[in-house]
Amino acid sequence: MELPAIKRNWDFGLTVATVVLLGSLGLQSFVGTLYVWWAQRANPAWEQLHYAEFVSRMNAFAAPQVVLLVIVMGLCVPKRLFSRRALAATSVAMIAVGAAVWLVSGSLSTGLAAYLALSALIQVAVVALTVAGTQAPSYLTEGRLTKTGSGLLHLGFIVFAFVVVALQDSVFMLPAFWTATAFMLGGTVLSFYAEKLAVRRYRPADTSAED
């Protein structure tokens, strides 16, 4: 089924934003590593004297990028379910809820946690609808198993981000982490190898062209 143009553009835009943010975080990691390498050679006592300062500076640079990445990840979720207008409204509402919780609690991580919790709820619905085989969720990929894999993979990322943002000191950290890991790895396997895992109800007419 061909996706409507607006959804294709939304998908492409979010993919580009994800790639740019991932690349930017990667570049920061690289520059940080180079800096540590240089600093340790210039000053052998650098680690004892300046490492804490380096960590806070790296955290400060990374924080807005991670926040944006979390927002982009959250925006990837409703695109599966909603029409153009509802999509825009849902995205704005999710960001507004996150921002409101941030302002009320005074904690950015609580605001992000609320935003991620909303995303996780929508993503659970997306996965459930995908597994049920309804036409509602739209994907770039084809096949129910591949779509379920993609849905689980993104749900896993959201739960993992939730663990990092909100649960690091909680007793729920490990159970939530293992759940995220299971979703991500199971989702990756389904996304990559759905064609090998699928049970065929009919024999394809010609398989020679596949390889």
């Binding site: 975080l25 960590v55 490990l174 890991t181 991500m184």
Partner: protein, 321 residues
């Protein structure tokens, strides 16, 4: 604790490893040189499959010798509390640390080159060059048979000396360091799962890199599909290996800002780049997109190599390994 008996048993294992391993190192070097020549000299290409098979057999034989050596260590490298004489356990030294890392990577690449089916003939020369470099590097810099596990023996030797001295003030700190390393590093389940998963992914990414180079050189899209198939095979253990590190790092590096250490930095960057590659690939059919996808694939592999080297170049939590 009879420190002399422990010392003698371990010394005998090291001598046996060296006696058998030294000639094997020379044979491996010769095999690597031969493999390289058959890959780069067009006239010798017909011998490439044989050279690959011989190198793989030699590498597996060496790995068998290392398994025997590690088993001997596990039997003998006992840790005892100095004050009470109570045995806390023996050290299970993983097979993929210190001097043995490049060797394991070479074994994985050899296995994957042998198992490759799609575009096998075209990929083998590139895979063989990588394997020859890894094998030579493992022998020349790693010296797994003639200079095994220097950090482990440095620490365990200091512990044995402390215990043999009879001076409790010297023995206790040496014991604490050794027991900490035994519990949170050598014997932890994580060290037996995380590195092998990463080396499997490194092997698959090496094959993906070769296929990407073929694609760039020939502009034939079939190689791109092959590169993707190897990349997805590598991405799964990479993700699993990195994820499994998270709860362990929180426990073992409590209170440390480990997430900005050089190796973690570079590993995250490598994972981000491969994730970016897989995302960009969704739009492969867009005009000119294959160039970006190929650039990301090549950059990701170069960063993988840098990530590996970071352990040695930038000191940090991973330098222990």
């Amino acid at each position: 604790m009879d420190t002399t008996a422990v010392f003698e048993a371990i010394r005998a294992s090291i001598l046996m490893l060296e006696r058998l391993g030294r000639p094997l190192e020379w044979v491996l070097l010769a095999a690597a040189a031969l493999l390289f020549l058959t890959a780069v000299v067009p006239g010798a290409r017909r011998w490439l499959g044989h050279a690959l098979g011989v190198t793989a057999v030699l590498l597996v034989a060496g790995e068998g010798l290392l398994v025997w050596f590690h088993w001997q260590l596990y039997q003998n490298a006992v840790v005892v509390v100095p004050q009470t004489g109570q045995i806390t356990g023996t050290v299970a030294v993983p097979l993929w640390i210190e001097s043995e890392k490049l060797y394991v990577w070479a074994v994985v690449v050899a296995a994957m080159a042998l198992l490759a089916r799609r575009h096998r003939e075209e990929l083998l020369p590139g895979a063989a060059i990588i394997l020859a470099v890894l094998t030579a590097g493992a022998v020349v810099w790693g010296k797994p048979f003639t200079y095994p596990l220097p950090s482990f023996f440095g620490q365990y030797g200091a512990y044995l000396s402390g215990m043999a001295s009879g001076d409790i003030a010297q023995a206790v700190p040496a014991y604490q360091g050794m027991e900490g390393a035994r519990q949170f590093y050598y014997n932890t389940w994580y060290m037996w799962v995380h590195p092998p998963l990463l080396f499997i992914s490194y092997g698959a990414f090496a094959m993906s890199f070769v296929a990407t180079l073929r694609m760039v050189a020939s502009r034939f899209s079939g190689y791109e599909t092959t590169a993707y198939r190897w990349a997805r095979l590598g991405y799964l253990p990479l993700t699993a290996g990195m994820l499994l590190g998270f709860p362990w790092a929180i426990l073992a590096w409590q209170g440390e800002s480990w997430w900005w250490s050089g190796k973690v930095n570079m590993s995250i960057m490598m994972w981000l780049l491969y994730t970016a590659y897989l995302h960009a690939r969704l739009y492969l059919r867009r005009r000119g997109m294959w160039r970006l996808v190929a650039a990301l694939a090549i950059l990701s592999f170069l960063v993988l190599v840098l990530t590996y080297l970071t352990t040695y170049i930038v000191p940090g939590a991973h330098s222990y390994a």
